[in-house]
């Protein structure tokens, strides 16, 4: 599903460089991305989602080179194919749980907020144990609950590629378990590809592939 060839990326006025000659991630695989801090783990996910573009090389996702797309094309691709779970949840403080889950559909004209979408949002929330708190403001939630809201938001558009940046980093062991299992379950049930950045080596056993960026970044 993901093919990377001769990828080169650097930030302007920075010593950071990410260089990946060749990397494949099969469709439906569960891949963990590891590496020391500063080695480009978040940058790698940003490149896969089209938020950043490489200076050289190709990133093909389902045979589409997203590096060559325009800003609006990458955005359209990201909206329709990719779900992203961010490192610090990145929920909007002044919105309720339901509104946060539905947020992508409110800010992207390409996505239509229909009754079906709303029902699916409620269903996802119920699966995550948030069904009775939909009208609650997210600032009143625990860390674990906030992460589950972020996961619901990422899964709402039924992405074929699910990216998660340290999804368990701020969670206690119980919530870590719940979160990672939710991601695994989705990937397996929907035959979606999961790429997860993690520092937690205890979780690596559940992944099909481990990508160590220490090999590529300098």
């Amino acid at each position: 599903m993901i093919k990377i060839r001769e990828l080169y990326f650097e930030y302007p006025k920075s010593d950071f460089k990410l260089s990946i000659p060749e990397l494949d991630i099969k469709g439906g695989a569960k891949a963990a991305v590891i590496g020391p801090s500063g080695y480009g783990k978040t940058t790698f996910l940003n490149l896969l989602s089209g938020i950043n573009t490489p200076q050289e090389g190709k990133i093909e996702i389902d045979s589409r080179n997203i590096g060559s797309l325009s800003d609006s094309e990458r955005r359209s691709f990201r909206i329709s194919k990719i779900g992203f779970v961010f490192q610090n949840f990145e929920l909007v403080e002044y919105l309720t749980i339901l509104d946060n889950i539905l947020l992508p559909y409110r800010i992207n004209p390409l996505l239509k907020l229909t009754g079906d979408v709303s029902s699916r949002a409620v269903e996802l929330a119920e699966q995550m144990g948030l069904g009775d708190k939909l009208k609650r403001n997210v600032t009143k939630l625990s860390q674990g609950e906030m992460q589950r809201v972020a996961i619901c938001r990422a899964l709402l558009n039924e992405p074929k590629l699910l990216l998660a940046d340290e999804p368990t980093g701020n969670l206690d062991p119980k919530n870590k378990e719940i979160t990672i299992q939710a991601l695994f379950d989705y990937a397996e049930q929907n035959e979606s590809t999961l790429v997860t950045v993690t520092h937690d080596h205890g979780l690596l056993g559940g992944f099909d592939t481990v990508i160590d960026l220490a090999v590529y970044a300098n």
């Binding site: 909206i79 909007v92 992508p104």
Partner: protein
């Protein structure tokens, strides 16, 4: 677009205090210059209308503004008075109808206006209830006096002493209210009208007491000589005029020398007006003749100069306030940079994000415009009353 509006509304609901402050600031910036303009324009109109309807004023030499303000708006002023001879002088010219005015005293905070019955025709004043002045001691009160003090025909009102320390000065007279005027939306609404003689009685130029030749208590007599009775301070003077004692009221001295504060002259045409004014321009003239509209126009010109300065100050304050609001918005955006980044990473375009932020500003503007409009409508509705009470 409705989604952006929804998100903007949610943001505003969750930032009520900040939003309220911004709405109040913008409302003040919008309302203040417009409200002030309405107030100034209405004040100008009301002041000018009153002045335009008064062709000519004659008074003692001195401040023409004081003369106009005292005679037209019944505000107390310190200036020399004329005498009834001035009224006769205008009458003798045959060029105008003279209306004597005596505006000096007050009763319960409202001015007592001594004048003639022709004043009511001149101002187009009509009675709401009761009848017009017929006897000494009668008064007719304006609409506001009646409503504020809850006074009606049959009630009485006592004039206020000018000073509590001068025992030889004016003493209170209890006047009989015989009529209430219809509302005229002019300073006449807050006046108490009497005839000239009643005004002179209040001033102490006339009084009433028992017939000294029939006095029951002889100790009030100071001297009796050749049929002339002189009383001492023990003599009780009536402080109200009634049917029983009205004949006991009398004046000492030549009434043509009694004071008037001004004379309103109503010429029959412009030519007579000009001729009348010409009679008062000689070098030794001790009176002044003014056109109230000219005096008020000059006053308004000065007021507008001040208003122009205030407008400039306001513009500076408004610009500063807007700059501060802009700074608040910028700082707010900086605080929300993470939220903006999240939306961008979730696939939102920069245009969509700008639309969302634009709606937030738009809601504040619309709400501010709404409140400004309410305030402006209220201003237009109540400005006349406000001017009547606080300005004119």
């Amino acid at each position: 677009m409705t989604d952006s509006l929804y998100l903007a509304w949610q943001y505003i609901l969750n930032n009520k205090i900040k939003t309220a402050i911004m709405v109040i600031s913008v409302t003040v910036i919008i309302y203040l210059p417009l409200g002030l303009s309405i107030l100034v324009n209405q004040s100008e109109r009301q002041l000018l209308n009153r002045a335009l309807s008064t062709p000519v004023l004659i008074g003692s030499k001195g401040s023409s503004l004081d003369l106009v303000i005292n005679t037209l708006y019944f505000e107390p002023s310190e200036f020399d008075t004329l005498t009834m001879k001035s009224v006769e002088r205008v009458d003798e010219t045959g060029l105008a109808v003279p209306i004597p005015m005596h505006v000096r005293f007050k009763a319960r905070g409202y001015p007592i206006v001594g004048t003639g019955l022709e004043y009511f025709n001149f101002r187009g004043l009509e009675l709401e209830s009761g009848s017009n002045i017929a006897f000494l001691g009668d008064c007719v009160i304006g609409f506001l006096v009646s409503s504020k003090l809850d006074l009606n025909p049959g009630d009485t009102i006592i004039s206020s002493p000018e000073t509590m320390l001068d025992i030889s000065g004016v003493y209170p007279l209890k006047m009989n209210i015989v009529g209430v005027l219809k509302e005229s939306h002019s300073p006449d609404d807050k006046a108490i009208f009497t005839d000239m003689k009643t005004a002179w009685v209040i001033q102490g130029l006339g009084h009433g007491h028992e017939d000294l030749s029939k006095a029951a208590d002889k100790s009030v007599l100071l001297n009796v000589k050749d049929g002339n009775y002189t009383a001492n301070a023990k003599l009780y003077q009536y402080n109200t005029v009634s049917q029983e004692n009205v004949d006991e009221f009398h004046f000492h001295g030549d009434q043509s020398a009694f004071p008037v504060t001004a004379v309103i002259a109503v010429p029959s045409n412009e030519k007579n007006k000009t001729l009348l004014m010409g009679r008062y321009i000689s070098a030794g003239e001790t009176s002044q003749i003014v056109k109230p509209e000219k005096v008020i126009e000059k006053l308004l010109a000065n007021i507008f100069k001040i208003k122009g300065f205030l407008d400039s100050v306001f513009v500076i304050v408004a610009v500063s306030t807007l700059l501060l609001l802009g700074l608040v918005l910028m700082l707010s955006l900086r605080l929300r940079s993470r939220e903006v980044q999240t939306m961008y990473r979730l696939g939102s375009s920069r245009f969509k994000i700008a639309e969302l932020l634009g709606f937030e500003i738009g809601i504040i503007l619309v709400v501010s415009l709404f409140f400004s409009s309410i305030l402006l409508i209220a201003t237009m509705r109540y400005v006349s009353e406000f001017i009547k009470v606080f300005i004119v």
